[in-house]
């Protein structure tokens, strides 16, 4: 019981501590490719700390939804964080939900953010909310198919179980369907974390912004919560990628302290690798037009479908 509690709290701390760093590293990598110096990798921490000290300016049109939404979204994302194996499998709370529950918790977070975007009555907010839900609707089928492909391979949607099984398989886990599902989920991760070519996280131009448009009315403490929530979500999406497809090195719960520390180091390396890969993708592609995004996401849909079909072909039946 105590060890479970400790590991839960430890996981919360790790998630909160790592997610701004991941953001910083992605920004730094992008700056490197754009031959800029770029902000320090610790800049996101300073940003959040600064925002937490500031007052919020609040629109006079808003209702309680606007105040509650950032916190509810944040809570949903953090709850999802406890269902995802980070560096140990056999999460103490892993029984409470599986991959599908994680997807729906993210949906809950998105729902409230989008709801708040409409609350201030600005036309930007509505635009952002509408686009966000549009992208979400495109992501969802591909996401579900790749979940199916993964679950089919392992026989479960329970994330701890998936990580455990795949890491137990060793290098044999690298099968065509895993690769195809990974490609599909990588594209989905781009969309879920709001990166180029789907969304541009560093723009405030009304033609291109999605996530930024939604949170345009937020400031001060609430903005800090929103930003932190977005960073945590990014970390979690990357963790999903890492621990579903490359869970090697993850520690089981009975493992000793040395293994756990090692697993933590491996995890951090994996996450940063994915972050850097994401930054490379971001710098090497252009932002797509909103109505070309269905094409991108149908590519992802097809890859996850191919993953399923190739599983069926290879395994026969």
């Amino acid at each position: 019981m105590i060890s479970a509690l400790v590991s839960v709290i430890f996981q919360i701390i790790i998630i909160l501590a790592l997610s701004p760093l991941l953001s910083g590293i992605i920004k730094k990598t992008k700056a490197f490719f754009q031959i800029r110096k770029g902000p320090s990798i610790f800049q996101p921490y300073y940003d959040v700390a600064k925002l937490l000290r500031k007052d919020s300016v609040i629109s006079q049109n808003v209702s309680w939804i606007f105040h509650a939404a950032p916190i509810i979204s944040f809570a949903a994302v953090m709850t999802a964080g406890l269902l995802i194996p980070i560096f140990i499998t056999r999460l103490p709370l892993g029984f409470a939900g599986d991959l599908i529950a994680v997807v729906y918790l993210f949906a809950l977070a998105r729902f409230f953010t989008a709801l708040a975007s409409l609350d201030a009555g600005s036309s930007f907010g509505g635009m952002g909310g509408s686009r966000e839900m549009f992208v979400a609707a495109m992501v969802e089928p591909a996401l579900m198919l790749s979940i199916f492909a993964v679950a089919l391979n392992v026989g479960s949607t329970n994330l701890s179980y998936i990580s455990q099984t795949v890491s137990g398989l060793g290098i044999d886990a690298l099968s065509p369907y895993q690769i195809l599902a990974f490609v599909a989920l990588f594209i989905i991760a781009i969309a879920e974390t709001g990166r180029i070519p789907v969304d541009n996280p560093s723009t405030h131009l009304e033609l291109t912004m999605i996530h930024e448009a939604m949170i345009l009315e937020y400031s001060g403490k609430q903005l800090a919560i929103v930003e932190l929530g977005a960073m945590v979500k990014q970390l979690l999406v990357f963790s999903l990628l890492a621990n579903i497809f490359f869970p090697w090195g993850i520690a089981s719960r009975e493992a000793g302290i040395v293994t756990i520390v090692l697993a933590l180091v491996v995890y951090i390396i994996k996450i940063f690798m994915i972050g850097i890969a994401m930054a490379v993708v971001e710098t090497s592609t252009a932002k797509w037009r909103l109505f070309r995004l269905p094409d991108l996401l149908s590519i992802s849909l097809m890859f996850s479908f191919l993953a399923l079909v190739s599983f069926i072909i290879v395994k026969g039946g």
Binding site: L180, I299, M302
Partner: protein
């Protein structure tokens, strides 16, 4: 023998990547990236050949693999890029069927190929992945020829079909006799050259390589 090779993990990965590259061609709207993806596909095919050579120990398949890399992933893509540069064509693939429906049709073709291969009972279970991939490559190549306007894409389509046939042949026979392979290579190369010249002619006549314009020839 074939079962062991084509059931192996490496082989399946390579075939899956070949399918990925095919869908990249199907899903992209830029001529450059289509040609680049074709080059990657051919390279992966050469890797397949190399793996077969490695596990069967037949040395002549190495030659085929090297030739594949040389011609299909270097010479032909380069030649296609040269054509594009020379005739200063717009760099977009023009489509009759939009990207999303194309992809869905491609996915359906893969499923159909799988059922087709499965209905032919003689083939062992394990090489069926390679064979379904080869049939899907052939059918997707044909589909690309039907659904794209630019003459270059027709060429690319036929090359993808040829790659599919190559994959099918190598997975059925563990490599055909060297002479046959060389003959095919020669054929493909000549075909590409002739088509390239044809594209130049089309471009000269119509000042475009949009095959839609060929409709005006019916008089």
């Amino acid at each position: 023998m074939a079962e062991i090779i084509f059931g192996s993990n490496t082989m399946q990965l390579l075939i899956a990547l070949i399918l990925v590259s095919t869908f990249m061609i199907l899903g992209s709207t830029r001529l450059y990236s289509c040609i680049r993806d074709f080059g990657i596909q051919s390279f992966l095919l050469a890797c397949v050949a190399g793996t077969v050579a490695f596990s069967t120990g037949k040395d002549e398949i190495y030659i085929i693999a090297v030739l594949t890399i040389l011609f299909k992933s270097i010479v032909i893509p380069y030649f296609l890029l040269y054509i594009i540069r020379e005739i200063k064509v717009k760099k977009e693939v023009e489509l009759y069927v939009k990207i999303s429906p194309s992809l869905i049709i491609g996915g359906m073709l893969v499923v159909i190929s799988y059922y087709l291969i499965r209905s032919i009972n003689v083939i062992s279970e394990l090489s069926s992945f390679a064979l379904s991939a080869s049939v899907s490559l052939v059918s997707i190549g044909l589909f690309i020829m039907i659904s794209r306007k630019k003459a270059i894409m027709q060429m690319l389509g036929i090359l993808i079909m040829e790659n599919g046939l190559f994959l099918g042949a190598i997975s059925l026979t563990n490599g055909m006799p060297l002479l046959v392979e060389l003959g095919i290579f020669f054929d493909v190369l000549i075909a590409v050259l002739i088509m390239g010249i044809l594209i130049f002619r089309i471009n000269k006549t119509f000042e475009s390589i949009d095959t839609d314009l060929l409709k005006t020839l019916i008089g």
